[in-house]
């Protein structure tokens, strides 16, 4: 499950294990464009495996990253390809809730953190005292495309709050004790329950405008994978009047983690293609009009799994709607590392054909002497980042092949419309769920 907030709406979109089986986005009003914002989230590591909480400026690749190496929560700040800072903030206590509070005011970034008291009878009611982790200025902003992305795995998450304002430590602390959606200032958007998966408690979805295909969700699963994206500079749904471009994410049909491991390091630089391919589908965000599209880019998280000789570069592999293959490795605009958003060659790819494209990954290993065992190369969380001018359609859009064919009404309890290739869509806007007369 992913949550996407862009300007004054927030989209909930399935991702990770349930990618491609999305219920359509749910939209929340009230997040206004501003350069000053704050957010907080409770996190509870469930294992000592690495996990991520990432703030990401997707326009120029600069990022604010909170991540775990398994023993500590780290802050990593990047300005494009350059790491500005990287240091451990606090140690991880598996099973213990940790609060991160982040405020950003132009280039000024302030981060607070706290860990819940152990052995409390009611830890959710136990006050916490925030500690200042960092307060510094970083010129990593892009004036328009300023996102926050929170990516989590191997951890529980809860109680995400967002403000269009810079909060002080006292205000953060007050909010930390308040597990509701009120407080001063009141969050623009909040999931107030500090229980795993409480994002399902989000209320008041925006159902106006042309989101007629229906936007609601019943459950956020799995609990250990969350992506939150918030952003500013856009005035949804009035993109057109502000003449600003709207970025949105398009998710894969099926969960995939591109990976390859050649076994031994090569004698000359060699690029290996992973065997996996994936297609994408949209849940109602991308208009179908080609000229409204500013760009369509390919997104993913490259990494390698030690031990062994790690790959040096990650590239995309592309098959267009006619089966034409593109696998460039000569131009760095197609290279994932260090950027995580790359251009798409060939095509051109358009909003009308991108659902027919297939995407993969390839990994370059440098030679070693003597040869060494290699580490597995990975590219995970593939997404398409589509930036467009206009309104979201509200119409789930998938490859024609997904929605074409023969379908049978499934009696007795099917709660979704299940199309081809495991595409699942919510039954659009039932007038009523269930009602009995005389009971």
């Amino acid at each position: 499950m992913a949550i996407t907030a862009i300007a004054n709406h927030v989209d909930l979109i399935l991702s990770n294990d349930n990618r491609g089986t999305a219920v359509p986005p749910v939209v929340f009003p009230g997040i206004n464009p501003t350069n000053a914002f704050s957010w907080s989230i409770w996190v509870r590591a469930t294992t000592n495996l690495p996990t991520w909480v990432t703030g990401h400026n997707c326009q120029d690749g600069s990022q604010i990253i909170i991540y775990s190496d398994g023993t500590s929560w780290f802050l990593n700040v990047r300005n494009g390809a350059t790491t500005v800072t990287n240091f451990p903030m606090i140690p991880i206590v598996v099973g213990r809730w940790t609060l991160f509070c982040v405020s950003k005011n132009g280039p000024d970034l302030t981060i607070y953190s706290a860990v819940e008291a152990p052995l409390a009878d009611h830890p959710e009611l136990t006050p916490v005292t925030l500690s200042l982790i960092a307060a510094a200025s970083y010129t990593i902003d892009s004036p328009l495309y300023n996102f926050i992305i929170v990516v989590m795995g191997n951890a529980d998450y809860s109680c995400f709050k967002f403000w269009n304002a810079v909060l002080t430590r006292a205000q953060f602390e007050a909010q930390a004790q308040s597990f509701d959606a009120t407080g001063s200032p009141a969050p623009i958007w909040a999931s107030p329950l500090r229980t795993p998966g409480d994002l399902s408690s989000i209320a008041n979805p925006y159902t106006g405008f042309n989101w007629g295909a229906g936007h609601a969700y019943n459950l956020i699963t799995p609990a250990d994978s969350l992506r939150i994206v918030t952003g500013f500079g856009f005035d949804d749904p009035a993109y057109m009047s502000f003449n600003s471009y709207c970025p949105t994410w398009v998710y894969p049909l099926t969960d995939v983690n591109f990976t390859v491991n050649p076994g031994l390091s090569p004698l000359v630089p060699t690029t290996y293609e992973s065997p996996q391919l994936v297609q994408f589908r949209d849940v109602g965000s991308v208009p179908f009009i080609d000229y409204q599209i500013q760009s369509i880019k390919y997104y993913g998280f490259p990494y390698s799994v030690p031990p062994g000789w790690a790959h040096s570069e990650t590239w995309g592999v592309y098959f267009d709607e006619n089966g034409g293959k593109f696998n460039p490795i000569s131009n760095t605009i197609y290279r994932f590392e260090p950027d995580t958003v790359v251009d798409i060659p060939g095509g051109p790819i358009t909003p009308n054909n991108m659902y027919k494209w297939k995407f993969g990954a390839q990994f370059t290993y440098q030679p070693t002497t003597p040869q060494q065992a290699t580490a597995a190369a990975h590219l995970s969380h593939p997404l398409l980042l589509v930036t467009y001018l206009g309104f979201p359609t509200g119409i789930p859009f998938s490859a024609e092949s997904d929605l074409s064919g023969l379908f049978a009404v499934a009696k007795l309890g099917a709660v979704l419309d299940r199309y081809n290739n495991s595409v699942e869509l919510k039954i659009p806007d039932p007038t009523i769920r269930t009602a009995y007369i005389g009971e």
Binding site: A213, F288, I395, P396, F397, S398, E400, S401, D402, L403, S404, G405, L406, F407, A408, V409, A410, K411, L412, G413, A414, V415, L416, D417, R418, Y419, N420, L425, I427, P428, D429, P430, T431, I432, R433, T434, A435, Y436, I437, G438
Partner: protein, 524 residues
């Protein structure tokens, strides 16, 4: 308990469904002014059932983009015939897609009927007249096709007569009795569907029988078509004063004159005229290629096809200004669905400019439909051209898919037809019941695009007492759903709309009451 702020509590005993008639404020309190994606059960209402893929293993790329589906009942089970984009018809059997079993690029839609496990298919398309009005007719110079249900290609129904060198008939050496005199002998092909072709070859054989020797027929034509499985010899009785018109005499099947293959070219035997009983003369007048129409059905074991544009053969000699055969229904011989006489195997409805759109048997009467006309014909056990016509209704008719198929059988329910008409969903039990079944949603119904009523397809699940109807633009993501479990009348029927994220082009019921949707998405 007194009502709040002087409002009395409202007791709703039963949900009565969607109401789209007049001002929303006029909707009765037990009706919905919006009823999307819901279904009704006893004393309740709930979100409709979801849908699932009917075929697990789709081809890659997925070429199945259904425009029309029918439940095709073969002798060993049920399956689906699916017209997909590109004029390709596939046979979906046991989750496997066979075909395409028929490809006609110009085919926009097709009519279908299953007889004896075989599928009869007629391709048709939509035409537009000078006034911009759309109507459906069989494709010009296209024909009725037959499909055996085995994955092999469908072929034109009926078949061409024998051709080739003149038939040779001579006396054999063996002794055998027969009636003296001149006899004409010809050959008839029998196809794998049991169709008997017209007589051939072009020049029949002839011989003056001597009454004492057997007869040897040679040069028997061999068909180039593999679907010809047998050949039959036919003969006249002894002819006195032969006038040279070889087709001007009555032919009979020769007893023992069947050649059970498509290889043998010589046959020897003998017969007496008194043994010539089974008539074959009518075969001369049969179509070897049957013009396509828009709808097929059966009546008294006859195949009926309506909505013909015509072929080069059938469009000759028409009156000035007439360019097609839109008001002609072709009717086969009983028990021989491909045997249709060009001479008397037809019904001609009033030539009012409107094409025939549908055909249905009900209570032993054959009903032919135009958009706003209904005609009735009764079998008088003579040739169809002699059947008497009765104009039943000049204000109500049915579009090409507008008669509800019932369960997985098609056609008639126990005692009524459900017919889609411009004025509403009509209950037909010999006459059209009023008010129409769609009375509660009259405003919605009247707003439907009449030019696209050919896109409406209706199925009736008479077990669960539910109806579904596909809709024209801009409602092609929707199905109209009705529940008549409380009564099949305008007052007690309950309506709703089912909405999907794909364009639902066509529906059918299979496995008795399982609703199948043929969809092509997404909808822009």
């Amino acid at each position: 308990m007194p009502g709040t702020r002087d409002h009395d509590p409202l007791v709703i005993e039963e949900f009565q469904g969607w109401w789209v008639r007049g001002d929303p404020e006029s909707a009765p309190s037990d009706h919905f002014i919006k009823a999307d994606n819901i279904q009704y059960f006893h004393s309740g209402v709930e979100t409709r059932d979801g849908i699932i893929s009917y075929i697990e293993n789709l081809p890659s790329p997925n070429t199945l983009k259904p425009i029309r589906i029918y439940n095709y009942t073969t002798q060993i089970g049920q399956s689906l015939l699916v017209l997909s984009e590109g004029g390709k018809i596939y046979h979906v059997k046991a989750g496997v897609i066979l075909g395409p079993i028929l490809t006609i690029a110009a085919m926009e839609d097709f009519g279908f009927v299953a007889i004896n496990g075989r599928a009869y298919i007629t391709p048709f398309k939509t035409y537009t007249n000078a006034s911009g009005e759309k109507y459906q007719l069989g494709i010009q110079n296209e024909f009725l096709y037959v499909y055996l249900g085995d994955g092999t290609l469908a072929r034109k129904a009926a078949g061409p007569p024998p051709t080739g060198a003149a038939l040779s008939v001579v006396h054999g050496a063996g002794l055998a009795g027969n009636d003296t005199g001149l006899h004409l002998i010809a050959v008839v092909y029998e196809t794998d569907t049991g169709f008997l072709t017209a007589l051939g070859p072009e020049v029949f054989g002839q011989l003056v029988f001597d009454g004492t020797h057997e007869i040897t027929v040679s040069n028997i034509p061999v068909s180039p078509n593999a679907y010809v499985k047998k050949r039959h010899l036919v003969s006249t009785k002894a002819i006195i004063d032969y006038n040279g018109d070889q087709k001007g005499y009555q032919f009979f099947f020769i007893p023992g004159g069947t050649i059970p293959d498509n290889v043998t070219t010589t046959k020897t035997g003998s017969f007496f005229d008194i043994d010539l009983i089974s008539d074959a003369s009518h075969l001369i007048d049969n179509f070897s290629e049957i013009p396509s129409g828009v709808a097929l059905n059966t009546y008294h074991s006859r195949l009926v096809i309506v909505g013909e544009f015509g072929t080069t053969e059938t469009l000759t000699g028409l009156p000035p200004g007439i360019t097609d055969n839109r008001s002609i229904a072709r009717v086969s011989n009983p028990g021989e669905p491909e045997s249709i006489s060009k001479i008397d195997g037809l019904l001609i409805c009033p030539l009012d400019g409107n094409p025939l759109t549908n055909v249905q048997e009900f209570r032993d009467v054959l009903y032919l439909f135009k958009h706003v006309r209904t005609y009735a014909y009764s079998d008088n056990y003579d040739v169809p051209s002699t059947w008497q016509e009765e104009i039943l209704d000049q204000g109500i008719g049915a579009p090409v898919h507008g008669i509800a198929s019932v369960l997985d059988t098609g056609g008639v329910n126990t005692d009524f037809l459900l017919i889609v008409d411009w004025s509403g969903l009509m209950l037909f039990n010999g006459t059209y019941a009023q008010p129409e079944m769609s009375w509660k949603i009259e405003d919605f119904w009247r707003g439907l695009n009449r030019q696209e009523f050919n896109l409406l397809q209706i199925v009736n699940d008479s077990i669960n007492k539910k109806i579904w109807i596909t809709l024209p633009n801009p409602f092609r993501k929707m199905l109209l759903h009705a529940d008549y479990s409380d009564g099949m009348n305008a007052k007690e029927i309950k309506w709703a709309r089912w909405i999907f994220d794909t364009q639902v082009n066509t529906i059918t019921l299979i496995e008795t009451d399982r609703l199948i949707l043929g969809a092509k998405g997404p909808v822009l």
